[in-house]
């Protein structure tokens, strides 16, 4: 840690002046998972479509082909739409076979711009599950894109590829330098550098504050599901966003990982302190000082008498930071089926083990959930894997209503313009009225499973099913 402290103090000055944005990105873009570092999926945008038809093309501005499975979520920034997918819609015959792919499309018309492909790790399912593609949602800041590949590498690439006529460095020896290839800037190999052994898939979506980019390593079990092959590898790392050098790491979990570590960190100012919040593989959530990695608090999301895997859960959804509190539900790998879950509001101004002291409320009527909450106008919306969407009072945890989608849900809600959008595994997207009264406005089918969360940008709603990306806007396409 001593080495890192020196670098961290340099960052301090820059970060101190940075202010955190509100839960609406404010720019009309949606530049990261959750839109903002607090990961609260709400937007102030108006005029987004609540009805469309992908067969007749009503309100469909454009559609683009993806691979056969797309677990990354869409981000939109600088006129570019980015998404992680696989290589089953082969765009470059020189890069064949099963690969993770980050694809970039033009926001205005869906034109394919460039891609960065990643061969699968030879270890296969243990670290890099076949055909699951790039599962990280990128983060865009200026003209730089940060994301984690299926090989456990944190990448920084150029938003505009080589189309800006420049090969940005330090990496300048790319083998592929065409207009449809990625301009690579730097990379940080978490397996090589910090010994991460990602379980099944590296999927962390980066978050940035000041000069530091934070990701989870996805360090976890090996295929035996008993052993942690790399108990000395960290759960969370902070890397300098300009140089790609490690600044701090934390491994509070050590060998207590229940399974994998697929939750993604959030950043926010809580009680006046900038914190990075990370839900980890032992089912605990931890808060850290952003610049130093000093652990501030930790909270166990499982009842003490719970037993993995029957009743004890991991944390896969993302913690949401809202008005000094952290909201998170626990659950399990969809492969494990349905089960009981727990949802918490945590007072993250507390310090130490705050499992008791920091519990504002606990909601146990949720089933296992891998989704992330949206909080708007004092109401919290969150689905569970069994397909129930829950609407609660964010302050008290009091339930207002639940809605059964009749399908498994991997996605999260987006709350925008008085509407709640949610997609499910049957490919249905339900649009509900936001508020204490339950009301279904519309339901549309997208043709195949919707695992991703809709994204608003510049009056258009972006959404993907397994193998297609849609831009939806009122008045677009056939009427």
């Amino acid at each position: 840690m001593r080495n890192f402290l020196c670098a961290a103090s340099l960052v301090l000055t820059a970060a101190a002046s940075a202010t955190l944005v509100a839960s609406d990105p404010g720019s009309g873009d949606w530049p990261m998972w959750g839109g903002t570092p607090d990961r609260n999926m709400v937007s102030n945008m108006k005029g987004l479509p609540t009805q469309w038809d992908i067969k007749t093309k009503k309100n469909v501005k454009w559609a683009a082909d993806l691979g056969s499975q797309s677990y990354g979520n869409i981000v939109v920034s600088g006129g570019v739409v980015l998404i992680g997918t696989n290589n089953e819609n082969l765009r470059d015959p020189k890069q064949p076979g099963d690969r993770g792919v980050l694809m970039a499309f033009r926001e205005s018309n869906g034109e394919f711009l460039w891609q960065h492909t990643h061969e699968k790790l030879a270890s296969g399912r243990a670290n890099d599950w076949p055909y699951q593609g790039v599962a990280s949602s990128p983060l865009v800041e200026g003209n730089r894109v940060y994301y984690v590949s299926n090989r456990g590498v944190l990448w920084c690439v150029d938003l505009n590829g080589f189309r800006d006529g420049k090969n940005e460095g330090p990496i300048t020896d790319e083998k592929l330098t065409g207009m449809q290839d990625a301009d690579l800037i730097w990379s940080f190999d978490m397996m090589e550098e910090v010994g991460a052994y990602p379980h099944n898939m590296s999927n962390s979506s980066p978050v940035i504050l000041g000069d530091l980019v934070y990701v989870s390593t996805s360090n976890g079990q090996d295929e035996s599901h008993v052993h942690i092959p790399s108990p000395k590898a960290p759960t969370i790392i902070a890397v300098n966003k300009n140089t790609g050098k490690l600044v701090w790491e934390d491994n509070s979990v050590q060998d207590r990982i229940l399974h994998g570590q697929w939750s993604t960190p959030s950043v926010g100012k809580i009680g006046g302190v900038d914190q990075v919040v990370s839900a980890q593989g032992d089912g605990w959530v931890r808060g850290y000082e952003t610049l130093t990695g000093k652990k501030l608090w930790e909270f166990d999301t499982n009842p003490k008498d719970s037993v993995w895997p029957k009743t004890r859960n991991e944390t896969i959804g993302t913690p949401v930071i809202y008005e000094d509190k952290v909201y998170i539900a626990n659950g399990q790998d969809p492969e494990h089926g349905e089960g009981v879950g727990h949802l918490y509001a945590i007072d993250a101004t507390k310090r130490g083990d705050i499992t008791q002291t920091g519990r504002v409320w606990q909601y146990d009527k949720i089933r296992r959930s891998i989704s992330t909450a949206s909080i708007a106008d004092g109401l919290l919306y969150i689905p569970d894997f069994s397909g129930f969407l829950h609407c609660l009072d964010a302050k008290t945890g009091q339930e207002y209503w639940t809605h059964d989608t009749f399908a498994a849900v991997w996605a999260s809600t987006l709350v925008v313009d008085g509407h709640v959008y949610l997609g499910d595994e049957d490919g249905d997207v339900v649009v509900m009225q936001a508020g204490k009264e339950k009301k279904v406005i519309a339901e549309m089918n997208m043709g195949s499973a919707v695992y991703a969360t809709p994204v608003p940008a510049h009056g258009t709603l972006f959404m993907n099913n397994r193998n297609q990306l849609f831009a939806l806007a009122n008045g677009a396409g056939t009427k």
């Binding site: 082909d65 993806l66 691979g67 056969s68 499975q69 089953e88 819609n89 099963d98 790790l121 030879a122 270890s123 296969g124 399912r125 243990a126 076949p130 055909y131 397996m191 090589e192 910090v194 010994g195 052994y197 090996d222 295929e223 035996s224 599901h225 008993v226 052993h227 942690i228 092959p229 790399s230 108990p231 000395k232 590898a233 060998d255 895997p309 029957k310 009743t311 399990q332 494990h336 089926g337 349905e338 089960g339 009981v340 089933r367 296992r368 069994s386 397909g387 009749f406 399908a407 498994a408 595994e425 049957d426 043709g447 195949s448 499973a449 397994r466 193998n467």
Partner: protein, 747 residues
Amino acid sequence: MHMRKYILAAAVIAMIGAITSAQGPSQGGRRVALGDWPEARGPNGDGVSKETGLVEKWALNGQNFLWRAPYGGRSAPIVMGNRVYVQNPAGRGPELQERVMALDADSGKVVWEYKFNVFQSDVPPHRIAWASPAADTDTGNIYALSAGAQVIALSRDGKLLWDRSIGEEYSAFTTHGGRTMSPIVDGNLVIVTAAISNWGTAANRSHRFVALDKRTGEIVYLSNPGGRPYDTAYAAPMIATINGMRLLIAGLGDGGIHAIKPQTGEKVWSFVAAKRAINTGVVVKGTSVIVSHGDENLDTNELGMIAAIDGSQTGDIKTTKWAKKGDQFGFSSPVIDGARVYEIENGSRLKAYDLETGRELWHQPLGTLQKAPLVLADGKLYVGTENGKFFIVRPSADRGEVLSEVALPVSTNSVQQAEGTPEPILAGAAVSRGRVFFVSSDAVYAIGPRTPKAVTGNAVDQPAEVGEGAPTYLQVSPTELVLKPGQTAKLHARLFDAKGRFLREDPAAVWSLQGLTGTVDAGNLTVAAQPLEQAGLIKATAGGLSGEARARVVHPLPWTETFDTYADAAVPPDWVNAVAGKFSVVTLDGQKVLQKAPDNTIFKRVRAFIGPADWSNYTFDADVRSNTKRRQMADIGITAQRYSLVLYGNSEELKLEPWTPEVQRTVTVKFPWKADTWYHLKLRVENLPDGKVRARGKAWPTAEAEPAQWAIDKTDPIGNQKGAPGFIADAEFGAYFDNLKLTANQP
């Protein structure tokens, strides 16, 4: 001297083999009484019952409810006469075993249970007993494939007839996924499949069919119709006759659906449907074979497919009669109903298609998660969902009418991996004598009348197969032998016709040995008596046809191996999974040692076996050493009698483990150790007079003196009474073994 017993037992087994194998393949027809459900997918392996007058509605503890027996599972029941047989986990924690049990069909009361250990397997406790048992309709005997890849033959009274450890003999690959296939009985064969590695020319890991003589457990054939497996798989195989040719058809781990001749294992055709394993069974009507999967197709970015192929073809089939892509049929097998086919996709939507054209006719949502296959009986579909509901649906041309939808109780004693939600149903139903039986995470359920419905006649009545014409295939059986120096064995050269039907045994076959020292005359094999390891082939030729069996001869005890006589890159010829596992002799610091090569593929963690599966009461000594990289070290250990003594590098522990994922059976002690340094492992296993097994282990730096005390001393109440010596290594960055010493226990 305990070894003497082993020799005696081996001689008896050899004699039994000589007597029974001479009878050759069964010449009888196949007959299944109406009312019996002898395999997971019913009398014809297609999920269809011919019974009528079955229930339309039932209620828990109410209308048409017969019984609930508290034995949860994840595989389908089978029924023979008044007995329901299920395969499930028994006990908990340190005494957890796998089990086949017979329940009284009228009451659900236990008639008998046969428990067996899971060992040297990666299947976790909540995923064992994935396969269903299968009944032999000739004898009523019951066959099971365990999570640990043992094939077990039981009499109808639950007495062990024989067992055979495919896991140790061929290094069957059992994964965390737990997927294992239900056996199928055909004539005198019981046929299973698994992803296995072997030695010599069969050392590659492939998803193979293994056919055993149902009377003796002798290996009759190993068949390898497909390619490299992506995963383990669990589609139920079925046998169908297409254009007069009997075919055993099953999807395997290579994404292909393969048809072989069931009595010989000869490949007839393959259709590669997906880039991942196939877990759904096929159904057949005429020449149409309905295949399905839930993963990547070869040619589109849509997931999943249901398709019809022409099963009268031979070779590699590349075309379909029709194919519908975009729905994931990953787990639940289809059924055919006249001109329609029904199947449930992963999200639990029941779909109906026109059998001729593939046109989708209707769909009916049943829940959100689906694993269990459909069963069609009396014009109704019987099926449970992973959401914990059991449905009875009446399908018609334009819709599926839900007649009954019963939510099971909230799970409180699951053998699966969740409690607190309605008991999930993962396997298919069985129909027998007016009743329907199914298994949930917590229980076996029976619905229907108190008194079994009287049924007469046969569900299946196929005449005996008679071979005719010229022989086209020569089978040498038993085809895989594990022998000790000087041992004899009787082999048979059997001729089959082009349709895979038995013609005759050929006493005039010409026999020869290849790579083996010994003699063979008229099928009588005697291997050399010198105490050396060897492996090779026994060939027979007759009338222009040739066939072969394979034998490996294991070094007797005491046995030391320093690798000094091996060239670099070599590996002892009879070691199982040593080639696929990338074990080979190298020179390290001037010494010949056995290396587990650095490997970041799935073979970074492997088991290899170096002896027969029926050794007992022996001690294994070895030196081991690990490389280090990326903050990580290897896990490296030795195995004796199904107990492994393993040095774990990353957790710095020494463990004695019979079954790695069931951690409550494992004994762990802290053991700080370093990379790039030799350590000595010593493992002694002995059978105690009271039936328990004592396993003791210790480790120390090779450069230091042996500590007097054992570090681990475990007396196992459910002990493994026998087992092969072997290695286990999980070594992404490489590890080494040297100075092996195997000795019979001294008192």
